[in-house]
């Protein structure tokens, strides 16, 4: 424990409805039974992690107008399952992804405050702005929010929730902003952490501003070293602009894992995991997102299709990760060259491209790498994404966490009665007062 390390933070991502989660493995358990969530939480708490993290998707994913059947499908109501988990855990934070678009502030504020009080100060909200006609079709207002306005409503929502969370039991407050006009009386006592922790996941400039202005943690997709540092620098500048301390915002990028006794074994394991994630049909589905169109007749074990990508023609309920049609065409051209040079099939490429970024190695190597990245401010830790439910993070907890603890880079136990904000060691951003711009 001679060296001084920055302290690492971990979130445990309950594996969700995407290719990442391997359901075909004999050890893969239920995605929906409460026992899976309980076991998952137990493992994360054994790993002394900061919080359990749940994503959100409010419509079943589709492909060409049909429900996607290749990946895990089905998830519980986010705040409800977190409330149940609050009863079977003691220390760990409980963070749910909830959209600002298909919720109303008084209701959302009350749900989160309920969770916060029931868990004795362990609640968090991952603020997402997802808005599209596809999801809107499941809600009263339908496709009500144009995409460019998503963060306007989000900022008002965050400000509204902060205003509501500041009121005391029995106190009445009025919201009067562009999107929200409401009057509500507080029905709950304050939680030990004052208000729930805020997390944000959104990549655009506006998304980063929302993060820098309001939140405690950013869930990013910049899991590699260099891009992580670049993202950190960008956020540091934004934090300064909003008068906040850099250490008060943690960045916990998503990361997957492959652990082995030797490096070779870990590499082999990473490859096996990716193969299990990317079946033939899944490789086609993955490539459809690059091509932006159906690839029905294409052989996954053959070469890449000889036609070029098009702008996407159908909503699938996914976050678009692969850029516009020019970027995707450039990517395809590069892959074509590689495919010809090395004899790689479409599935080989899908397997290679899928599932990154990842930490692959022996427990010592992974521990070293995590410490390096945190010390050099590529991130403050990770949102760990296991590939199997519910035990996917057990090996990390049992083999990597003890090394991090030995090296003095990670807590060995939970402080007594700590709130989630205390676990994160950050001061909340100052509340942003609601402005009163023109109403929609």
């Amino acid at each position: 424990m001679s060296e001084q390390h920055r302290q690492i933070h971990f979130a445990a991502h309950f594996p969700g409805v995407n290719q990442q989660t391997i359901w075909s493995d004999p050890n893969a358990g239920s995605q929906i039974e409460f026992e899976s969530f309980r076991r998952f939480a137990e493992i994360a708490e054994r790993g002394v992690m900061d919080y359990i993290f749940l994503a959100e998707g409010l419509r079943l994913r589709e492909r060409n107008g049909e429900i996607l059947d290749l990946d895990v499908l089905g998830r519980p109501n986010t705040v409800s399952i977190l409330s149940a988990l609050a009863a079977v855990t003691k220390h760990i934070g409980l963070v749910g992804t909830l959209t600002t678009t298909y919720n109303e502030p008084v209701d959302l504020a009350r749900q989160l405050r309920s969770l916060d009080v029931l868990s004795n100060g362990r609640a968090g909200w991952n603020v997402v702005t997802t808005t599209n006609a596809f999801t809107g079709a499941n809600f009263r207002k339908g496709d009500h929010l144009p995409y460019p306005e998503r963060y306007l409503r989000a900022q008002e929502m965050i400000s509204a929730l902060e205003q509501l969370w500041e009121t005391e039991l029995g106190e009445t407050t009025t919201l009067d902003s562009r999107y929200f006009q409401a009057t509500a009386t507080q029905t709950l006592p304050a939680s030990p952490q004052g208000r729930p922790v805020l997390v944000q996941a959104g990549a655009s400039g506006e998304g980063r501003d929302i993060a820098a202005r309001n939140v405690d943690v950013v869930f990013s997709m910049f899991g590699e070293f260099a891009e992580g540092q670049k993202f950190r620098t960008d956020l540091d500048e934004r934090l300064e602009h909003f008068g906040r301390n850099a250490e008060d915002l943690k960045i916990l990028p998503a990361i997957t894992l492959a652990i082995g006794d030797t490096e070779a074994e870990a590499q082999e394991r990473a490859q096996a995991i990716r193969h299990a994630q990317v079946s033939g049909p899944n490789a086609i589905y993955f490539m459809e997102q690059i091509w932006g169109r159906e690839l029905g007749g294409v052989d996954p074990d053959g070469p890449l299709p000889d036609f070029d990508p098009v702008p996407p023609t159908h909503a699938t309920g996914r976050v678009p990760h692969y850029g516009d049609v020019e970027e995707r065409t450039a990517l395809v051209n590069q892959w074509r060259a590689e495919s010809e040079a090395k004899g790689l099939s479409l599935r080989d490429l899908a397997v290679r491209e899928y599932g990154r970024p990842s930490l692959v190695g022996t427990p010592e190597q992974i521990a070293d790498e995590i410490i390096r990245r945190v010390d050099e401010r590529a991130c403050d830790g990770f949102t760990l994404v296991g590939d199997i439910v519910p035990d996917g993070l057990a090996e990390f907890v049992d083999r990597v966490v003890p090394i991090l603890q030995e090296r003095g880079a990670y807590r060995t136990e939970y402080p007594e009665n700590a709130t989630l904000r205390e676990l994160l060691g950050s001061a909340a951003a100052p509340s942003v007062p609601l402005e009163t711009p023109e109403r929609v």
Partner: protein, 404 residues
């Protein structure tokens, strides 16, 4: 005599009397108090615990979101049914459907939900809507016809809400998850059905994100006082809670309910009828501390007791006798509303309940809440005949027809 007679406990803050905050010692702002209450009711074999809820305060007590609270209570209890309250004029049916389905998973088959249309001024303000209905007391003071006309739109919305929730629960067939390695398919998409619901008040297109809950259709409760609500219950609910004495005799209400059920052409599993009563249990051994004295103490603290439901007040012996009489009329159950949450629940559990057991009210057996409440298994409406059907459109038929 033995019978299937269900017992529910209705929790509302410190109690149903406005003076309960001052007189009782239940602390509704403290989660531990709720866990203790639920566990005591669970151990006593009470069939359901209902949690009152609204976006506006329920009196001066603290109130949790009932979905968060019941999901938190689920892993801490074993047998009792958990009944959060959803206000159909304020919430999203999609979120409500997944929240109840999730409760059914976290409680392993013990979820239910009470649907109330709500929509009084203070709670509507929470979603930024101005309302024609000031508060329940003012609204109920109106002539019946005017009241029914005012609430017709709300109930129309509530009917759609209930229909969407039920469609969403059934949107996955029980065996939709196949994990078929040969074809790389996790689910059989033929066994998932988009509701594609289009109503007058809202539309909901897609299937639930939550697989069909363990009970298939968690029981739906509805509290009803007049004609439109009786029809609403007949169209939407498995269990209706009625309030004899304040709205007529038990016989009159049952006749009105039957008329409502036939007006909406309810077919299949009949509506279970429970009576809803406030209870106050006095100490039999203390002559000075009788029911009247206790009520006076509460009235002094919180004002005269006014309620939409009747009051059974007396010693444990008197309360038990009255409940057994009600049971003997052939109704299916009772939900008791303790005037003081801690005191009256404790007395109900330790003194009244044993007398009811002696009187033949047995602890219901069954693998899940539906079975324990005597409800038939819920076949999936997308592939078979659901437990009951009814004509939704006739709930809010014209007032002339209602008074006829």
């Amino acid at each position: 005599m033995t019978s299937k007679f269900s017992i529910g406990l209705a929790a509302k803050g410190a109690g149903w009397h406005a003076g309960a905050d001052a007189v009782g010692s239940f602390a509704p702002q403290d989660p531990a108090a709720w866990a203790k209450l639920a566990q005591a009711a669970d151990e006593a074999g009470i069939d359901v615990l209902t949690i009152e809820d609204s976006l506006a305060p329920l009196g001066t007590s603290a109130s949790f979101d009932s979905f968060m609270l019941t999901n938190w209570l689920a892993p801490q209890t074993t047998r009792i049914g958990l009944v959060p309250t959803a206000t159909t004029s304020l919430l999203e049916p999609f979120h409500t459907a997944t929240a109840v389905a999730t409760l059914d998973y976290t409680s392993e088959g013990r979820a239910a939900v009470r649907l109330r249309t709500g929509g009084f001024a203070s709670e509507s303000a929470a979603v930024g809507r101005e309302d024609t209905l000031g508060n329940i007391r003012e609204a109920r003071a109106l002539p019946t016809e005017e009241f029914e006309r005012l609430i017709a739109d709300r109930f129309g919305e509530g009917v759609e809400f209930a229909e969407v929730v039920r469609l969403l629960w059934d949107s996955w067939e029980d065996d939709a998850e196949i994990r078929d390695l040969a074809t790389s398919r996790f689910i059989d998409r033929e066994r998932i059905h988009n509701p594609e619901f289009t109503g007058k008040h809202f539309s909901v297109f897609g299937a639930s994100i939550t697989p069909r809950p363990p009970q298939g259709q968690p029981p739906v409760f509805s509290l009803a006082h007049t004609h439109t609500p009786y029809r609403f219950a007949a169209v939407t609910a498995d269990v209706v809670l009625i309030t004899p004495e304040t709205e007529g005799t038990l016989e009159e209400i049952r006749a009105a309910l039957a008329a409502g059920a036939s007006a909406v052409d309810r077919q299949g599993s009949p509506l279970k009828v429970w009576v809803d009563y406030n209870i106050l249990i006095a100490d039999a051994d203390d002559a000075d501390d009788d029911a009247a004295a206790r009520l006076a103490e509460l009235d002094a603290a919180g004002g005269e007791f006014v309620s939409d439901a009747g009051l059974i007040a007396g010693t444990a012996e008197q309360v038990a006798t009255r409940i057994l009489e009600l049971r003997d009329t052939g109704i299916d159950g009772i939900r008791v509303r303790p005037l003081v949450t801690d005191r009256d629940t404790e007395a109900f559990i330790s003194e009244v309940l044993p007398k009811l057991r002696d009187g033949g009210v047995e602890v219901a057996e069954g693998a899940n809440l539906r079975e324990r409440l005597g409800l038939v298994p819920a076949a999936n409406r997308f592939v078979a005949t659901p437990p009951f059907t009814a004509n939704a459109a006739s709930v809010t038929a014209s007032t002339e027809e209602i008074s006829a």
